[in-house]
Amino acid sequence: MEDSIIIEKFSNERTRNEAFNLLLKKYQQRIYWHVRRLVVDHDDADDLVQDIFVKVWKNLENFRADAQLYTWLYRIATNECITFLNKKKQYQSISLDDDSASYLSDTLTTSSYFNGNQAQLKLQQALLTLPEKQRLVFNMKYFDDLKYDEISEILGTSVGALKASYHLAVKKIEQFFSDND
């Protein structure tokens, strides 16, 4: 179903619940995997996805159609993940200046909800060594297949900076693979 129809149904109180359920069916998996790739742990991702969609429920009527609905959803999800990860760093007494997500590597190796092969594991470990922004950009380009314009709308970063960021991320991952062969 088209996003415009979902938004129109949501604005009508009688069809609001129906519209929201349609939105959930359409986007919940995409949002979940976007969150999961960032926070690694399934239970954390589960909590965050619920919080994200509660926020969507509260704010969808204020959504202006000057952006695509899914970029708006991604933006909310990304901001919630960043807030969550910063809190996790503080809880583990990790400096906020440490931009990498290496503190999540234990979760990756001990998680029962990861059954990837060696290459998948190595890629995830490599991603955890990247600065947050590069990890975000790489995930959205490589796994979600988003265009640079869309990523630019989500992150509020210029297309040129995103291209440079993605290229640097690829180089670092390549280096990680060759160092850990």
Binding site: L24, Q28, R37, D46, G116, Q124
Partner: protein
Amino acid sequence: MSTMDNERNYQDDLAGIQGVPPNPKDTPFIVPTDYFDRLEANIMQRVSIISDMEKSFTVPKGYFESLSDHIIAKIEKEDNLTLANSTFEDTEYHPFIEKLREKVTTSGFVTPQNYFDQLDKKINQAIVSTAKNEKTREIAFPIRRKNRNLTWIGYAAAACIAIGLGVYGFFQYQSNNFERTLKSIPDNEIVNYLEYYSEPGDAAFLEAQFDGVIQMDKPKFSEEDIEAYLDYSI
């Protein structure tokens, strides 16, 4: 120890030390020779260093706007890639990424069985419980309304309480003051006053009021004393 002894000890302690003020009340701190003569020049030198530094840390006009293009151009040159093309998404080619895509198509993360079948129910339940919590919070902490006509009542109540406390405090102070004044008067003055100004019935009145507290000795007058008194007073 007297002040003179203190001063004598001070002088003994500091004998032989250069630059010590003779008067102990003067500041005991000393400065290097010609310090104040050179101070102005030192300050001006530091100020000129700071302003030179500020001038040197500037960038050309439009630097940041074109920075990303310069970086991309450099990357293209170094790695023999084409990044700046407007249809880059179609032509982007990283050999490493192409190899990686053959081995890695998904992230490797999995979910519990039937997780997504129940996720929308979980989310709807979360929305309902959030709405309930917000309502409960509203009842416990009612949201202030924009209509503020009733605030004058609050001010009036506060003013009444302040006036009441002030009046109470004033009278407390007055009575305390009176009692303090009374206590400061010597007892024999009070006795003399009472003897001079009291009337014949006062003694009996006081005895009745302060029964047992005031020990009134009944005067012992002879009949002759009484007759003499009556002769002279009438």
